[in-house]
């Protein structure tokens, strides 16, 4: 009759994109594009086109290797509506990267092969110790790497098509406190760690219908990341250790599809303008489920509603050739949040947002070029989560400088 039945609802919210990342379209995948608000679907600038539009890669001249690195500084704060207590994150700097190799085959001037390796996901959100939402989440670390071999073919002088196969690999580490307290006043803690794999593809068409005007259409498929042999570890008072057995868990997370339409226009010899419209299939993220191998009355399998909705993002930018070597870039992006009211979580304190970006590029003679970019965004979201009842306002500032080196041969 006095058996302890501590039902422990595991409501980890699996997803936290890089904190800046509404959808995948943060476009930390190319510095030249990032400087222009993240637009690059119809503007074939460099080997990063393997990500942005494989159809346009065949229009990028020569062979090239393009290596990008970013440093993401994201700080979030939470103001509890009821207690006025402010908590903040102490997340470490995230370092999304992207590397591309684009090669022309000698016997076919129209065919290009490429390999793209990039991190569409990758972040650590860590809240300060003992924070208000500790029983919802204390830390979430997520890294997904896409490896994408790609073929791009120039059908005519005006049309290019391309396709890439995506192999995705990643890992996840989720932690939160468990509301059982021991004689020393310590709360329990749970840590879930696992590796995930998934597959997908990236398709694109690039078209130059009239001089100076370019159109791009791409579709990057959904990738289902499946965690098969995750390890769940629990630290609880010894009298409850049977209720929280360490063991395996399985889960899965859909990384949604992105359909994009892009335009580019060469305004003058020195200036190009680009616009991308992305439509991200976030509706796929409708439930988050955890299945534990060792269930007890306290540790039950869970299904949490997420109910994300499909969203648009608009990215606009331009560049200006100051000299033969130096290029300046400026951009802005409007991204709508896929997270409906009532579903905002401390790992994804997402909101509609405006990204401001700027960039510089410099070409050293024939072979080398470097690009730098800078992104800033700030956003705010108020709400009460329907699952945890955590109620308050999240504010987040994100600053991401990035650098790339391009070698052409």
């Amino acid at each position: 009759m006095f058996q302890i039945k501590y039902v422990f609802i595991f409501s980890f919210f699996f997803i936290s994109l890089l904190i800046n990342a509404q959808g995948f379209q943060v476009n930390l995948q190319g510095q030249a594009q990032q400087g222009m608000g993240g637009a690059g679907i119809a503007y074939a600038q460099d080997a990063a086109s393997l990500f942005f539009n494989p159809g346009s890669s065949s229009f990028v001249k020569g062979n090239s290797i393009n290596i990008n690195a970013n440093a993401g500084f994201a700080n979030s704060k939470f103001l509890d509506k009821n207690t006025h207590i402010i908590s903040e994150t102490k997340s470490p700097t995230s370092t999304p990267f992207a590397a591309y190799g684009l090669f022309q085959l000698k016997d076919s001037a129209n065919l290009k092969l490429g390999l793209a390796v990039y991190t569409p996901f990758g972040s650590t959100v860590q809240w300060q110790d003992n924070w208000t939402g500790r029983f919802a989440i204390t830390k979430l670390q997520l890294l997904a790497i896409y490896i994408q071999p790609t073929v791009s073919y120039k059908l005519t002088k005006k049309i290019g098509i391309g396709a890439g196969f995506i192999f995705a690999t990643g890992k996840v580490n989720l932690q939160k406190d468990i509301p059982v307290i021991d004689v020393n006043g310590n709360y329990g803690h749970a840590e879930l760690e696992g590796k995930a794999n998934g597959y997908g593809y990236n398709l694109g068409i690039y078209y130059n219908p009239i001089p100076k005007f370019f159109i791009g259409l791409t579709y990057r498929s959904q990738v289902n990341m499946n965690v098969k042999n995750g390890e769940a570890k629990f630290t609880v008072p010894s009298s409850l250790s049977v209720n929280f057995p360490d063991g395996k868990f399985t889960s899965s997370l859909p990384l949604p599809s992105v359909t994009s339409l892009g335009f580019a226009y060469k305004l003058t010899l020195k200036t190009t303008l680009a616009l991308d419209i992305n439509y991200t299939g976030w509706k796929a993220y409708d439930t988050l489920a955890f299945d534990y191998e060792n269930n007890t009355t306290s540790l039950i399998d869970t299904k949490s509603a997420r109910n994300y909705k499909n969203t648009f993002a608009f990215r606009f930018g331009g560049d200006y050739k100051i000299s033969e070597q130096l290029i300046a870039r400026l951009g802005i992006a409007f991204a709508l949040s896929p997270v409906p009211d009532g579903y905002v979580t401390p790992e994804t304190p997402d909101a509609n947002r405006i990204n401001y970006t700027a960039g510089l590029g410099y070409n050293f003679k024939k072979h080398f070029a470097i690009n730098a970019s800078f992104l800033f965004t700030t956003f705010k979201r108020e709400g009460t989560n329907i699952e945890t009842n955590l109620s308050g306002t999240y504010k987040t500032n994100v600053v991401i400088p990035g650098l790339s080196i391009i070698y052409k041969f």
Binding site: F2, F73, K77, L79, I85, E88, I181, G185, K395, T396
Partner: protein, 441 residues
Amino acid sequence: MKKIILNSFILTAFFLLTNACKPNFKTPDVDKGEIDVTTFVSIGDGITAGYANGALYYNAQNYSYAKLLANQFEQIGGGDFKIPYISSSSIGIGNANNAPSILGNRTDCQGTISLGPIKIATQGDLSIFTSNVYSTQGSFNNMGVADVKAIDIATNGFTNPFYVRMSSSISSSILSDAIAKKPTFFTMMIGLNDVLKYALKGATSESITPISGPVGIGFDASIENALNNLTINGAKGVVANIPSIKSLPYFNTITYNALKLSDSTAKSLTSFYSLLNPVIPFHEGNNGFVIEDVSMPLGYRQSVDGELILLSIPLDSVKCYKWGSLVPIPNRYVLTISEIELIENAISNYNSILKNYATSKNLAFVDVHSFFSSIKTGFVYNGVTLNASFVSGGVFSLDGLTITPRGNALLANEFIKAINITYKSTLPQIEATKYSGIIFP
């Protein structure tokens, strides 16, 4: 030199990126509205005093909702909040001279070890009742007294030992001591013991306080008198109502049909009772307990849905000595439907009186009845699932009647919400997850 400049430039840039771009919040203003909490006095029973886990002791006193409210009042000019503390080195004492309970392993009559409440000593610290702390610690702001009824608070020379140890004199009353403090603000949560004493005895002794009658006898007059006196100098305050006993784990942990039988035991019990009146058919699985009922021909019958078995029932007698099957459970451990009706009617009458006086005297009102019902239903607070389950629910202490520090923080928040609404203040609530529920070994 160049290197130093470059390095310091990089360091500065890094610092700016990691820190200077932190978002800023303007903390909402905290306003006291129409209240003056300089001298805050709380009136009530054991819950107000901080009684928990079956006893009063220092650590429990420190987490009463009244104390937590006083802590919060410091943000709007609240003064010292004096509590008749028991020494922190004392184990404390309960109303049966018992020691407090903790959660631990215990072995039942069948040799099964399970987690449950165990007393930390064979008896409480009796010296607590023999020394009066008024002269050394008084006068007190927390006038919560364990076991007190609404009709007791104006009784001069009240002999409740929890009051005697903190009274200002042998002829004082809880109310007179409270008024002597000249409160500018007060809370009053009283009335539960006016029915609970009766309920705790399984309706076999004690009585339910009548509605009418003079101060000290009738509920209505006693409440009116208390509030008249407390508001005499224009003090503002909060009146709370009382919960249903059905919301308390003491009355809803053991269900009427918790008699679990195997097929063979059920058959042999059935054949045993087939010779008696009434005949009781038992079956495999859960069955209604056999309970004492003097109105029946042979003084027993089977318990029915809606009846409550008290947490005080000796479980070993059930497990090993056939209580509830061959031996009817004594009446004092059972509340029958008609008894529950009497109790719940009284609670409902008390609550309308409390609500009416709160309204007529323009005081804030806390609906503790609804709050405790919501706990019974269960809710999620900042990611923590809370309910009225005994031990695991996180809100009720190990006596099944009083509440944990976390329960107290949640209750204090109900007071804060009521105060903010009535007096247009903007006092923030308490982060209840910072306060513990049941402590597990």
